[in-house]
Point group: C2
Chain length 583, copies 2
């Protein structure tokens, strides 16, 4: 786990925003000041400047900031009356607006050098505490005063700031690396997926190469889940709105659902989740205790309306394919089934190279039984469900934390919190304990004693949305996916035209082994082809010339390293075992 931002850094960042404002005041007299808070990793300040602030000006401001810091100025808290404050900021309309809204007792003013600001603090005592080379101004953007389009657009200057130069450098390096790993950039460069304005926003089209990755992941999931007793089904991508009214999702999720389509007398809708379809499949025949636990799984297409501003490559899309499942079981088996689910999640993650603690952790998301609007009222069931989830996490010594008020409306859940390369954590998918839907859909089974009883349902994914996990893997591996997932596993590069036949022979041999390869016989230098192959993140670049023909060998280059000449059969054995082990 990366450490959480500490209080001290926030104080430094906020103080830096004052020092930046002070610099702007000196450099551009007549500037009107908005507000300047600390943010994650840095700070900003909003200005209305008489001249346009250019990117070049940032360097000047930075220089001035360093001068001010070197003066070891003191941050002095002042207590003024509202009237005094009004007088002090008479030329600062934005400050006046804020003062007007404050109670007399809430007005605090800070003085640092020549700059006086309306501010609640806290700041460093002296600029001494700020390292002169641990901050950097990063960009200029427009921002409406108080976030409303009705107000004037101000100029916002962003900066980043840390306790030490090393921390700053590490952060910059991480950001540069994250940009290089951006799956949207790599997706284009490696020809994995595209978007089309004509098709629509947030709707990726997977090319042949992207589709190979996707198909392998899908097969891996279906095979692994089937092995573990899941029954993989296909149900329709659409359904009657009635499904979601019955489930109770409609009032909660209407905003992120697609518009209703009226056909004859039916109201159809693109499904935002799979549960009702699986419940209907469960209900399609009488079930008995012998069939439980019944685990219905599906690679389920789902459709959710995401605001266009929130669409992000494959991470946030408007149509996706979730490796979904619903486990129907008796309450007493819930603990065992949830343990099985976490086993599966951890197995799948480990195969993909994701490590618990580093790449993901669990969040136990709890409800709030005082909020009957947000959560179904059933204290006893909530209590039982929460205790089961907590017990499972504790007993398996899972890396988890608890969060209040994050449950589904129908029960508590375990969220799988994925952290991307740059350290940003998001809920990738969930495991939910549900005692509400079985009632709503009248799910039942005939028990040993001949009586009809109600099962509970565990909603879960094992890997999340295929699109999202692809984005995650592309970024984690910076495009250089493990061999078993690589759309092209090898390039065969003949040195000259007289080696092309041998290259083809190797190709024929590779076909037998189901290897994915390309023969690069374009009229280009070998070194250019090698560079090209490295740019395309091809796992194995195989150069073949006279020597290789003589020795029935290939000259192997992998991950920017030359592994030298290898007998063809040895190479095949090597890749075969790597693929089998999903390396």
């Amino acid at each position: 786990m990366k450490k959480i931002v500490i209080q001290k850094e926030e104080i430094i960042r906020h103080s830096l925003s004052h020092i930046m404002a002070s610099s702007v005041q000196e450099l551009f007299p007549g500037t009107k000041f908005g507000i300047g808070p600390a943010i994650e990793n840095g700070f900003y300040y909003d200005f209305e400047s008489p001249i346009t602030i250019t990117p070049e000006a940032l360097l000047k401001i930075e220089k001035k900031m360093r001068e001010i810091i070197k003066q070891n100025i003191i941050f002095q808290k002042r207590k003024n009356t509202k009237k005094e404050a009004m007088e002090l900021f008479k030329n600062q309309p934005y400050k006046l607006e804020l003062i007007n809204e404050l109670k007399e007792s809430d007005i605090t003013i800070y003085e640092c050098g020549k700059f006086i600001d309306l501010c609640a603090g806290p700041h460093v005592k002296s600029a001494k505490e700020i390292s002169i080379d641990a901050f950097k101004l990063t960009k200029i953007a427009g921002a409406y005063w108080r976030g409303s389009e009705k107000n004037k657009m101000l100029t916002r200057i962003y900066g980043i700031g840390f306790g030490t130069k090393k921390e700053l450098d590490d952060y910059i390096k991480l950001q540069e690396e994250a940009e290089k790993r951006d799956h949207r950039v790599l997706g284009k460069n490696l020809d994995l997926f595209v978007f089309s304005d004509l098709v629509g926003k947030g709707l990726p089209l997977f090319t042949e190469k992207g589709s190979i990755i996707r198909r392998i992941l899908e097969k891996f999931i279906v095979d692994e889940e089937s092995k573990r007793g899941y029954k993989h089904v296909y149900t329709p991508d659409i359904g009657r709105v009635e499904l979601y009214k019955t489930s109770g999702h409609y009032p909660y999720y209407k905003e992120s659902m697609y518009p209703v389509m009226k056909i004859d007398n039916e109201e159809l809708i693109l499904r935002p989740m799979t549960c009702p379809h699986h419940f209907e499949l469960y209900n399609s025949k009488m079930r008995t205790y012998k069939e439980l636990p019944l685990r219905i799984a599906e690679l389920a297409k789902q459709f959710r309306y995401e605001k266009s501003g929130e669409l992000t490559g494959l991470i946030r899309v408007r149509a996706f394919c979730l490796a979904d499942a619903h486990i129907f079981c008796i309450k007493e088996k819930a603990e065992e089934e949830i343990n099985n689910v976490l086993d599966l999640i951890e197995y799948v993650s480990s195969v993909l190279g994701l490590k618990t603690g580093e790449d993901y952790r669990y969040r136990l998301s709890l409800g709030n039984q005082t909020d009957n609007k947000k959560y179904y009222k059933d204290d006893k069931s909530w209590g039982f469900a929460e205790s089961v989830l907590r017990k499972v996490l504790k007993e398996r010594k899972a890396n988890f934390f608890e969060a209040q008020n994050e449950a589904a409306f129908y029960g508590p859940k375990i969220d799988i919190q994925m952290k991307n390369f740059a350290g940003k954590e998001e809920t990738a998918f969930t495991v939910q304990y549900d005692f509400v839907m079985p009632k709503r859909f009248k799910l039942s089974y005939v028990d040993k004693d001949g009586l009809k009883k109600e099962p509970i349902v565990i909603h879960r994914s094992s890997i999340g949305a295929i699109e999202r996990v692809m984005a995650f893997l592309i970024e984690k591996y910076a495009g250089a996916l493990p061999l078993w997932l690589s759309p092209v596993q090898a390039w065969i590069i003949p040195i000259g035209s007289r080696h092309e036949d041998y290259a083809k022979d190797i190709g024929e041999r590779f076909k037998i082994s189901d290897l994915r390869f390309e023969i690069k016989n374009e009229n280009e230098t070998v070194s250019k082809k090698i560079r090209g192959g490295e740019m395309q993140k091809i796992p194995y670049l195989l150069v073949v010339g006279d020597n290789e023909i003589k020795e029935n060998s290939v000259n192997v280059r992998s991950k920017n390293k030359n592994l030298g000449m290898m007998k063809l059969e040895n190479f095949l054995e090597k890749v075969d075992s790597e693929i089998k082990e999903k390396k």
Copy 2:
């Protein structure tokens, strides 16, 4: 090919409708007569009878018909004036309505025994020509006069009729067999798919077993197509309406498309076809002559609005998965590519056990260049396209026929006409030559000479919609699918509880070979289990008892036959080779 209905049979059927009407007139005096044409395999007549005609009455009518036929009555054509006709049918309001609409010269009247009818003929000369035991009345239904709900509902009696008793018996047997093979019935009995009112009409939910069949078929198609140079992709199930306006489909297909969904400023729609998505993928980068022919394929979900009355099991649904592809190539390569497509279709069909001539034939569907509303105007391109398709079919000596006015609006096509068990022929899918879409989507490639040129597009499927082919296979095999497609390939049946461990050992061995099996250790007799397995169309029923344990064997039953005891390893070799050969 089953022989086409001949003129003679139609004459017999039409004459039978007169004899039926004559019988009704005698049995139920006061009946008003509608019309009574010959139809496929039989005939009907519409009546307004003073009493309700019950199913039991059909036997009486049949008996009366035989009496009339035995009288060897003559069918006599009469020529009457309109006035005479009006007098003759003064008590027959429906006939009067028809007479009123006829020209004087078009009025012909036939007399057969006591029954006089307004009719254009032709009929048999004498009832002698009709075999007394080659017809049967089959059902009673309601039918609006002249097909309009605004008119009165009449009683329609259906009959079937043939030249000989043998033909009638064969037909009845075929119908009974077809009913037994009905995929809707088998789908339920074999637990392959279900429908749910809550999910919506025409939207099948595949159970685990049905999903296994589907997944195997899908993998077979993707693997086979990939081997043949297709690039399998994933594109979104929805898209902007603009896509179909650009393609020109919208005005032609709007009626069978789902309603538009408005999101932000976009109008989205469930896709009724895949072409525009693949065109956008083609257009996502600059293409060169080296990339052609480019074959983009997809297991594509498609959505079409079918009237609820036309929905039929998996045959006609509202959402389906088409094994779709678009081949981008130069005009000069069209012939070769279409040949490749037909090779693929014939290979896939043969693997599924479908025979050309027996199960399907081709239809060359041509346009009509005088109809500029229905068909894109470009005589030269139509001429070329039609000649290419015809040449391919002729040169490969394909079983085909030509049909005018059946082309797509953008070009001629080859339809794959599938015939079901009962002999009903339907277009399963098509191969289309398209010179219009490339213009509409501005498709281009850079040729050797550096110039931008326009490719043509071949739209094609290789197997059609997965749902439909499943229905077809279920009916063809009466549910007893070939081993490689069977959701459960074997039941292991221990004779007593002391043989259960051995059954489990066999199961473990089967898991290694990826066989799909169930161990039947319910407390039932072995013979009952065998009957159950035969009902469930399980390919192999393996009974194990003391002898089998001693000999490390299984007692094999397959397709209602006892194959005797077999060493386990021999059995495994046998099924392994059958599965490999897709038997």
